[in-house]
């Protein structure tokens, strides 16, 4: 494989990581901890919003983040022809 395309693949991977980990940080440390008091003024159902993020919401977002990453990377692997052949 050419060096150029390898570099591009890696750069793209790093940019996905940057975006996904920013969201990871925002929902947990942001909404669940740093902004929890402010968000607690709002409610969804019986949950104060900050409390909900800390004990429920952040975990749901974590799950979604991993599956989004899997989808993005599988697509990227194919595009740059580095995907593994089926066994």
């Amino acid at each position: 494989m050419k060096n150029d395309s390898m570099k591009k693949y890696w750069q793209k991977n790093l940019s996905y990581l940057a975006i996904l980990l920013t969201i990871w940080f925002l929902v947990s440390f942001g909404c669940g901890i740093l902004l929890a008091d402010q968000l607690n003024q709002f409610k969804i159902g019986g949950f104060p919003l900050g409390f909900w993020f800390a004990q429920q919401g952040a975990i749901y977002v974590f799950v979604v983040l991993i599956f989004v990453y899997v989808w993005l990377m599988n697509r990227l692997d194919k595009k740059f022809d580095v995907d593994e052949k089926p066994e």
Binding site: M1, M6, N13, L20, G32, G46, A58
Partner: protein, 557 residues
């Protein structure tokens, strides 16, 4: 049938199942023994990882801890799940591509140094032994509470079961028993939770019932609980007590520690391909999240139930389960003002009731009046959780000895067959030591679990991340970083948690108000800084090593 008979029956069936699986999936080679031949389906690996990860503490103690900590319990919920995002995005796929057997393998090869390998082995052994002692104790405790046998007898039975399937089947046996154990433990956790959610809120989904109104009224459950808390002088349930900086640092340390734990990382060596490692981490987190999003609901339900049942009630009119659990010492009533009424309040001078946090899960089915077989199921679930984690840890210990020490450092010419026998021998030895700690638990077991996470965060995590994402990182940097991270974290724990250095301390003495549980984050940051600085002033890694780094970044190349 009574509870005892049900418990013997269910525990007996599950144990027979584990042994059956072990016989069916015997390991034939070291590759089978260390990584199940690398042929585990990602979905099965996801379940096995979930069971591996969720220990006796997650199953029995976590809901109770949250129940008493309220909002602050979020540090465990987010900390022990958020780490999987790091694992899936930053570690698992690359380590799978690297394709060896252990974490010290990666550290040793990537940093072309047996010193680095040895440092990694010591960390892995330390973290795993710390952890496994707690699991064996957990097995004993479950046995003693549900089957009324001596705790030590319980530990022996647990040792025997783990011995059979870990020594015989290695990773292969462990993987498939963990799949079965996951199914049992999640069923045992969810069933009472769903029943109680329906009883309290008419909502069958605990995650939603938690935010719903109390059955037969318009008050939200959490509002009611906050009201009860305020009345009794506690902080509101949905507010925290811990300082902001401490919550941040503990959550981060637990996340990074989770991603750095060798028994979790090694599970991703067992799937066939890089893409399987990625998706497998996703499945694992789904399976974990089912329990982790239910636990805070159970915590709030149990807290409400408990306060309503006992607070300001006459001692003579309390339900039967109160007396049952009083005999185990998990509930203690001390009628200070001798009025025959239970005063459960925040003020320790007036409070008359001491509650062990484990009761929130263990006694839940009785508090909610569920049938006997549900109580028995909870016992089987607790055992599944403890055994699955213990087996995963024992495997890391035996692999570290047979592969990373004996094969890689002393006897490189060892044949596959002899290595397999050494691995089995090391597993036997590890079971014996774990059993010893289960029977004679060191007084600091609870404290050292925090230490295990702190050490994993401060040692492995930066070394692996830099090994993958920073090609210029060399052995001098990595070793210096690990030693500094380990050293400072160990020092802080001994000084402020264990009190081994410089005598008693109070939270006022903590650096920047960071508790020992959260200090792993500081250790990790220092590890990164030292590693970067040292590598800058020392020679770049050899060309072959830079090629390793290149090759692990691409799934096929």
């Amino acid at each position: 049938m009574d509870v005892q008979a049900w418990t013997y029956l269910l525990v007996g069936i599950t144990f027979a199942l584990y042994i059956g699986i072990a016989i069916w999936s015997r390991a034939g080679s070291t590759s089978d023994f260390y990584v199940a031949g690398g042929g585990v389906h990602p979905l099965a690996n996801g379940m096995a990882t979930a069971a591996d990860w969720m220990s006796a503490a997650s199953f029995i103690s976590m809901a109770g801890i949250i129940s008493f900590a309220g909002y602050d319990g979020a540090v465990y919920l987010m900390g022990w799940t958020g780490g999987y995002v790091l694992l899936a995005l930053l570690l698992a796929p690359y380590l799978r591509k690297f394709g060896k057997f252990t974490v010290p393998d990666f550290i040793g090869d990537r940093y072309y140094s047996n010193t680095a390998r040895t440092v990694a082995v010591i960390c892995a052994l330390f973290v795993s032994f710390t952890y496994v002692a707690g699991q064996m104790r957990g097995v004993g405790v479950v046995f003693s509470r549900f089957l009324e046998v001596d705790i030590n007898t319980g530990v022996y039975i647990g040792m025997f079961i783990v011995f059979v399937y870990a020594v015989l089947g290695g990773m292969k046996g462990i993987t498939y028993t963990q799949v079965a154990q996951y199914v049992i433990l999640i069923f045992a956790f969810m069933l009472p939770a769903i029943f109680i959610s329906i009883q309290l809120t008419n909502n069958p989904i605990p995650q939603l019932g938690f935010g719903d109104t109390v059955a037969g009224s318009n008050t939200y459950l959490l509002d009611k609980l906050n009201g009860l808390h305020t009345e009794l002088g506690f902080n509101e349930y949905t507010d925290g007590n811990k300082s902001l900086i401490d919550v941040l640092f503990i959550t981060f340390a637990l996340m990074v520690g989770t991603a750095g734990l060798p028994h979790v990382i090694v599970r991703f060596f067992t799937v066939p391909r890089v893409k399987d490692a990625r998706i497998s981490a996703g499945y694992a987190l789904v399976f974990i999240a089912i329990l982790y999003t239910t636990a805070p609901a159970v915590a709030a339900f149990a807290r409400t139930n408990l306060i309503e049942t006992v607070s300001n009630k006459s001692y003579n009119q309390l339900p039967d389960w109160f007396a049952n659990w009083e005999t185990t010492g998990l509930l203690q009533f001390d009628d200070k003002n001798e009025d025959g009424v239970v005063q459960y309040v925040a003020d320790p001078e007036v409070n008359e009731l001491t509650i062990d946090r484990d009761i929130m899960v263990l006694a839940n089915p009785e508090i909610a009046n569920l049938p006997d077989w549900v109580v028995a199921l909870v016992a089987a679930g607790g055992l599944a959780a403890a055994l699955s984690t213990a087996a995963g840890l024992l495997l890391v210990i035996s692999t570290s000895v047979s592969h990373d020490l004996v094969k890689k450092q002393f006897m490189p010419d060892l044949s596959d067959k002899s290595e397999l026998w050494i691995a089995r021998g090391a597993a036997v030895f590890a079971v014996l030591i774990a059993g010893y700690f289960g029977i004679n638990p060191p007084g600091f077991v609870a404290a050292v679990v925090a230490l295990a996470f702190g050490l994993a965060a401060a040692s492995f995590f930066p070394a692996i991340i830099l090994g993958i994402f920073y090609k210029r990182m060399n052995k001098e940097g990595a070793i210096a970083g690990m030693l500094v991270g380990l050293g400072i974290t160990l020092f802080y724990m001994m000084r402020y948690k264990l009190g081994w250095i410089g005598g008693e301390t109070t939270p006022e003495d903590w650096w920047f108000g960071i508790s020992p549980e959260g200090f792993g984050t500081v250790g990790m940051i220092l590890n990164f800084i030292v590693a970067m600085l040292v590598s800058r002033f020392t020679a770049a890694p050899p060309k072959e090593v830079q090629e390793i780094v290149d090759s692990i970044r691409y799934p096929r190349a």
